[in-house]
Symmetry: C2
Subunit: 437 residues, 2 copies
Amino acid sequence: MRLVVIGGVAAGMSAAARARRLDPALEITVLEMGETVSYGACGLPYFIEGRVPDWRSLIVYTAEQFREQRNIDVRTRAEVTGVSHARRSVRLRSGEEIRYDKLVLATGARQDRTAIAGLDQPHVFSMNTIPEAMLLREYLRTARPDHAIVIGASYLGVEAVEALRAHGWRVSVVHGGKHLLKRDDAFLTDLLTRHLSRFHVEVRPGVCVRTIEPDSVAGVHASLVVLAAGLKPNTALAEEAGVELGSTGAVRTNERMETNLASVYAAGDCAESIHLITGRPSWIPLGTTANKMGRVAGANAAGRRARFAGVVDTSIVRVCGLGVGLTGLSETRARREGFHPVVTRIEGLDRARYFRGRPTTVELVADRSSGRLLGGAVLGDTGVEGRINVIATAITRRMDVEEFGQLDLAYAPPFAPVWDPLLIAAQQLIKLLGSSV
Amino acid sequence: MRLVVIGGVAAGMSAAARARRLDPALEITVLEMGETVSYGACGLPYFIEGRVPDWRSLIVYTAEQFREQRNIDVRTRAEVTGVSHARRSVRLRSGEEIRYDKLVLATGARQDRTAIAGLDQPHVFSMNTIPEAMLLREYLRTARPDHAIVIGASYLGVEAVEALRAHGWRVSVVHGGKHLLKRDDAFLTDLLTRHLSRFHVEVRPGVCVRTIEPDSVAGVHASLVVLAAGLKPNTALAEEAGVELGSTGAVRTNERMETNLASVYAAGDCAESIHLITGRPSWIPLGTTANKMGRVAGANAAGRRARFAGVVDTSIVRVCGLGVGLTGLSETRARREGFHPVVTRIEGLDRARYFRGRPTTVELVADRSSGRLLGGAVLGDTGVEGRINVIATAITRRMDVEEFGQLDLAYAPPFAPVWDPLLIAAQQLIKLLGSSV
């Protein structure tokens, strides 16, 4: 019995490792087109920034470790050019064919480079892979800081801003949408835009870049351009093999990470997951989700019955020193999904005032008729990850605002104020819900 | 209609403020025996340590503010010596009688000083009130650092250790029990005892102090003694008025904070609350709980129908730099409560390794038959409050370990590792539960 995994980063290596743990007899082959497997792609912005001096510290396990310690046949520079499910085999660029009994597609995401002209100029960079990050870092080390433009305002875009600022560059962000961080939340976008401008980072929404000129983008001078937009699920091989895609453009899977083809699984950034609040498929490419999906795909490929529960779309990012945590639905999105949202935004303290307490903003969204919590945002100095995770846990279990407002949260002056901002926000929301009945 | 509140700290002032907000016409009188109301008693250790230079910064609102801005008749140095519920009146030490229609008992906790002889010596201190804390701080400022003994190993005891060490004193902790932090968890006690010994703090369990000698306690030299044990609910007035106590020794209330007497409520450290996991009354004197109970009592006294959901016994404390968060039941306690607990303890990282990730220990307890999470502990450098709050939220909603292990928690290198220690612990626990079936 042979398991073949296409893709050796988060989802792929999680799948292979899990399958090995559950079935020591399985033959497992991982095919990775790049030179390294199992690296923390989320750490690349910090490598570019310089905080992570050596890219090797982003490697969790090497291909050799997988081969020697786990008996997993990991092949790097092994580009798969085709999948024939009828013959149960994959074809490598070298011409070699490898047969499989079970197949895990973990081909990740790719950047769409067709929509913009001029991407191949020497001052234009991406930061999706280690080689790309190395090129950018080398450029930053040798070029004189001037004006950089980041195309895209999602997480990657914001992380690129941080990395470039650390090198002394003036940075502008241009993006085609209205909102930052892929969240249709005008309050959040306003607050972050103002915060960024305090750090001399200009944000230009609604700019659809078609061409990168040698010294400008959309009329703004730029001696460095970082492309942080256009991420798409990498589904070319899947499609060729006859694997169905979902409405999001990513591979459609069930909760066992099974595709429409028998014995073929998909996991990670190439696959959809179920959004636990809307109940509908979503495409949310994130490292944590990829790892969880990979584990489930690997377990099922090894003959177990594991399921992936789904996501509530939790994320966190640092924006010029400010922690920004998001989960669930924004007010606008909740309305679009058929809820009747009520929203509140409050400012509290992250710790006791006499313990260097700093302002923390909490946004909570609930459904008017049921009182059910639908989403939230937390912005602050410390404790952002903890507070957004509490909201994520509550919405996963369909908690209503009443119960949320009475949560028995930890309190001591070095860690929190006696009224946690989460509870203050809940009280405010209960008042709004009450008066609306 | 007049509401009288006995006690003007957390629960009492929360009750008064809430009642005022809901009923502008209510006559509200707060009777506080001390000189200040509405102070952050939890900040006293940090005042003693010196981090909070001025005790006035612990005051949230002054009596004047309550009088002028909220029309609440707050009287300090107003000691209530008796309650006659038949006549609906309280009697002050001054002889004055005040009639009430509704009464909130928020008399707090008191330290039992009858069990130990020698407490009135000049080198023996408590730290429950602002005057007590001021006396201790004055002593620390003038006395030569030598050896201090803290009696008691609950939160207050540990916080006293931190405060004394900051002044250069060598500290020993003696306590009558087996475990630290009131948690019957040998693993936790061991780990903390070893941690404290690294900071030259000696812990002597099983020592029942009966007498404090002029220069020693239980045979150990001491030129300073801090009493941080013997906290009891302060129920003398309640009992005299005919209010029933519960099995914990604190005032028995229902979820509306009503006592057995009509129109008499109790809230805060003098009252019981329902433990959401055992379903039984518990006495857990904590500032956050006191505030929540006070709000509910105040709302009901003002004619609304509010309820207090109960507690899961969440707490957090810093022990020589180590954050220690606890919630729910320990393994031992779970067994005593009739569960069949399975426990796991893992060490993970609080953040990505390349982002100064530091070790974090997570303990999770679940019920073998249902898989339901029952409790947990988190010990670490950063993120302790957030992780313990996620466990608290999960156990409040009776989450099982399977669902917990798939929580969509926030990830970015500055905030968390890609596999959060909570999820690693859950995976470990799932394995243990699985193999036991």
